[in-house]
C-alpha cells in the first residue's frame, strides 16, 4: 500500500484519491449481499482501506454487483450506474454476473453482465470470502494505478451498443439516453 508516499500524491492526486477512498454503493442485489456486512464491520474491517458503504449513488465511486441479476434488477442497476458521478468502477461479485452461475439456464436472469454495463473486474466464488474481497480491492488499486480501469470511458464511447443491448433485454426503456445517441436515419 503506497498511501504514505508523498511524491506519488503530488504527481497525480486524483488517482491516489480514487484508490484510497473507494465508497461502495450499498446496493443489495441477490444473495451475495450477505457477505458484505461482515466485511464492513469489526471483524474484517474495510474502513482501514478507505472502503465505506455509501447511502446514495451520487456519493459513490464503486459499484459492487453481488449475486444474480434478474431482468427487473437490471433496470435498477442501469439506473443506479447512470446516477453515479464519473470516474466510477464496477466489480462483479460471485459467479452469477460472470456467466450466469447457478442460474445459467433460467428464463428470467441475464447471463453476462458485461453486455449491459461495463465491468472492470470479477471476483469468482459462490460466495467469495471476505479475504477475496480485500484481494479484489488491492487488484483494483493496481488497475487504477496503471490506468487500466476504464469502464466508464468505454460506456461513454460505445453508448449506442450498450443501449441496444439493454433494449433487447428489457423491452422499451423508460428513461432518455444518458449520452446523445446519433439517429440512424440521418
Amino acid at each position: 500500500m503506497d498511501r504514505n508516499q508523498v511524491k506519488k500524491w503530488l504527481e497525480s492526486p486524483a488517482k491516489m484519491g480514487h484508490k484510497y477512498s473507494l465508497w461502495a454503493v450499498y446496493f443489495c442485489t441477490g444473495c451475495g449481499i450477505i457477505e458484505v456486512p461482515p466485511v464492513i464491520t469489526s471483524r474484517w474491517d474495510a474502513e482501514r482501506f478507505g472502503v465505506l458503504p455509501a447511502p446514495s449513488p451520487r456519493h459513490a465511486n464503486l459499484f459492487l454487483i453481488t449475486g444474480y441479476v434478474s431482468v427487473k434488477t437490471l433496470k435498477a442497476i442501469i439506473n443506479t450506474y447512470e446516477l453515479m458521478p464519473e470516474p466510477k468502477y464496477t466489480v462483479g461479485f460471485g459467479s452469477c454476473p460472470i456467466n450466469g452461475g447457478m442460474y445459467w439456464d433460467s428464463y428470467n436472469t441475464i447471463k453476462h453482465l458485461d453486455k449491459y454495463i461495463p465491468v472492470d473486474g470479477w471476483i469468482a466464488g459462490c460466495m467469495p470470502r471476505p479475504e477475496a474481497i480485500f484481494i479484489a480491492v488491492t487488484h483494483l488499486w493496481t488497475l487504477i494505478d496503471k490506468g487500466m480501469a476504464k469502464g466508464y470511458i468505454k460506456y461513454r464511447e460505445n453508448y449506442e451498443r450498450y443501449r441496444e443491448n439493454q433494449e433487447k433485454a428489457l423491452g422499451r426503456l423508460e428513461w432518455p439516453p444518458l449520452f446523445p445517441v446519433k439517429d440512424e436515419n440521418e
Binding site: 431482468v71 439456464d105 433460467s106 428464463y107 428470467n108 458485461d114 453486455k115 423491452g171
Partner: protein, 170 residues
C-alpha cells in the same frame, strides 16, 4: 371434528371426493363450478385463512390443477382448538387450452397476489380480478414459463445468448 366436517361436506355437495390421509389434513377434489361455493361454505364454518393458491401442470392429461390451501386463524393465545389444527386442501382440474377461472377475491380478499402470480406463470385468466398485471416478470413470453412444454434452454439460446458483447470500437 374431522368426521363431523366430512359428513357435512358430503351431505351438502354432490360428487366431490374427500379423503383424510392423516390426522390433521383433509383433501377435497371437486369440479370447477363448485369451488367458490365450497370456499364460501368453509369460510362460514370458521376456516377463514387462505394460506396459498398453487397450480400443477399435468401435461399428459391435458389439464391444469388449481390447489387451494385453507386453515383457520388462532383465536386465543396458547390454545389451539381442534378446528385450528386442520389444513384443508381443495383441488380442481381445468382444461389446458385457454384456461379461465372465476376469481376467489369475493370470498378471500388475500388471493389477489397469488392469482396474479399464477396468471403470469401458467397463463390462467381469472375473470373478475381487478388488476391482472405481472408480479415478478418483465418480459413477454409466448408460452407461460412454468408450463411443462416451455423449454428454458431453448429460450435462453434464442434470447439471451444472441445479444452480442460490446467490443471497443478502435
Amino acid at each position: 371434528m374431522n368426521n363431523v366436517l366430512k359428513q357435512e361436506l358430503e351431505s351438502t355437495f354432490k360428487d366431490i371426493s374427500l379423503s383424510i390421509p392423516e390426522d390433521k389434513r383433509m383433501v377435497i377434489t371437486a369440479s370447477s363450478v363448485q369451488i367458490l361455493t365450497i370456499l364460501r361454505f368453509l369460510k362460514d364454518k370458521g376456516y377463514d385463512h387462505l394460506a396459498m393458491i398453487s397450480c400443477v401442470d399435468w401435461l399428459e392429461q391435458g389439464a391444469l390443477e388449481l390447489v387451494y390451501l385453507i386453515s383457520a386463524y388462532m383465536k386465543h393465545d396458547n390454545e389451539y382448538t381442534e378446528k385450528e389444527k386442520l389444513t384443508i386442501t381443495l383441488k380442481t382440474m381445468i382444461p389446458r387450452e385457454n384456461p379461465e377461472f372465476p376469481t376467489a377475491i369475493p370470498v378471500f380478499e388475500n388471493s389477489e397476489p397469488y392469482e396474479r402470480e399464477i396468471h403470469e406463470l401458467y397463463g390462467i385468466k381469472f375473470t373478475g380480478h381487478p388488476r391482472l398485471l405481472p408480479l415478478f416478470l418483465e418480459r413477454d413470453y409466448e408460452i407461460p414459463p412454468f408450463r411443462k412444454d416451455f423449454d428454458t434452454r431453448e429460450y435462453v439460446k434464442e434470447v439471451f445468448d444472441k445479444i452480442p458483447f460490446v467490443e471497443n470500437k478502435q
